[in-house]
């Protein structure tokens, strides 16, 4: 999720990662690749019947009254460069009531 001012200056950027995470059970480092993994120690993947809800909150810099929000959801397979876009949602948020 990124938030930008009307001029395009980035004022906030946050990521959430959803995936099972495994170690080899001999150290505390997450492993990548079946030959190294032994068991999941944490699982943030998206499960059926369980919605993933997040709240992102940030302060606007001095003098800024509107922000353009872009929420991007995408899938990565094998390495972070191999991306499959899923959804992009944009919103303009203003502090001024018309």
């Amino acid at each position: 999720m990124t938030a930008k001012t009307a001029e395009g200056k980035e004022i906030g950027k946050e990521e959430r990662h959803y995936h099972p995470q495994a170690t080899n059970c001999r150290d505390t480092k997450e492993k990548y690749g079946a030959q190294w993994k032994v068991a999941n120690i944490r699982d943030t993947s998206i499960q059926p019947h369980q919605a993933k809800k997040e709240t992102f909150e940030f302060d606007l810099p001095e003098g800024v009254r509107t922000a353009d929000i872009t929420v991007n959801l995408f899938y990565e397979a094998v390495n972070p460069d191999n991306k499959y876009p899923i959804h992009t949602i944009t919103r303009e948020v203003s502090l001024d009531k018309e």
Binding site: A39, S45, P48, L60, V78, Y84
Partner: protein
């Protein structure tokens, strides 16, 4: 058409089947030949074309041609080598590739260790053409993996295919009957390879897919009733999507599986008298209609 078919059957009938089947494959070509499903293509053209594009048709190089067994083939001690590696490719055995349990189950039951040596050398030489010959073919799924109640039902028979229904005279030269499998329309069938969690039966435990575990413990437990086949094989579709080499289709499938809902709020927060902080709040909600975690692995 019918007459030609009958003639074909007669020609092949005199060839002793047992010769090929009785002994294990010594080379990659022999193993590929034993489970070759190219003869199925002429009659099951559509299913064959779907399968050819599927991950099951390229189980050792699933995503964008990557030779993912290479770390196991590296010499022991070399950077990137694994607990399954040996100091000499000639020492590699079928047991050095525990991945075969799911990625190439016919190697466990039907291949000599020489196949592991040949594969190791092919991986080191980046010989994708050779590695590509090793597939989860029609016969692996419709014979090898079709029975899990072996004590009650016996093992898969030679020259017999198994499916969701019986076909008493099946017009193939080698597989002359199709028997009804007890499990082919059941999720446990796919669960044989799609993983419950750590593979603890090996002397060096490891984990790959564990999606079947998620299906049982997060989908069924939450009241889900559909089978893998009902969601993934509608009308007998053997592409069994997703196909990660088809980026556009994968994106579309994921977009229909996962919904994203966004709400925003802009306001000025009052920390203490006259100290306003302009804030933006964004809430997101993702829901899934799949029958298991996404992503897995």
């Amino acid at each position: 058409m019918r007459i030609i078919l009958l003639l074909l059957i007669a020609t092949f009938f005199v060839m002793p089947l047992s010769n090929v089947e009785a002994q294990k494959a010594k080379t990659i070509d022999e193993l590929a030949k034993m489970f070759d499903s190219s003869p199925c293509k002429s009659c099951h053209a559509e299913i064959y074309a779907q399968w050819e594009k599927s991950h099951h048709a390229r189980p050792l190089m699933g995503v964008k041609g990557g030779l993912m067994l290479t770390p196991l083939a590296l010499k022991k001690g070399e950077k990137g080598s694994t607990a399954f590696s040996e100091d000499d490719p000639k020492k590699m055995k079928i047991g050095n590739f525990p991945c075969f349990k799911c990625h190439l189950p016919q190697a466990v039951t039907h291949a000599e260790d020489s196949v592991a040596v040949e594969l190791t050398e092919a991986l080191l030489a980046k010989d994708s053409e050779k590695v590509a010959k090793l597939q989860i073919t029609c016969i692996v799924c419709h014979n090898e993996k079709a029975i899990i109640h072996k004590r009650e039902l016996g093992g898969p028979e030679k020259g017999v295919l198994y499916s969701v229904k019986e076909v008493t005279s099946h017009p193939d030269a080698t597989f002359k009957t199709v028997k009804k499998s007890a499990i082919m329309n059941n999720s446990v069938y796919c669960g044989q390879c799609h993983g419950l969690g750590p593979n603890l039966e090996f002397d060096q435990a490891f984990q790959c897919a564990n999606l079947y575990g998620s299906y049982l413990h997060n989908y069924v437990s939450g009241g889900g009733t559909q089978s893998c086949q009902e969601c993934h094989m509608k009308k007998g579709d053997h592409l069994i999507a997703p196909n990660f080499n088809d980026e556009k289709q994968t994106s579309e499938l994921l977009a229909s599986a996962l919904s994203l809902h966004v709400e925003t709020l802009g306001y000025e927060w009052l920390r203490k008298a006259n100290a306003y902080t302009p804030k933006v709040i964004v809430t997101t909600k993702i829901t899934s209609n799949a029958g298991h975690r996404i992503p897995d692995g």
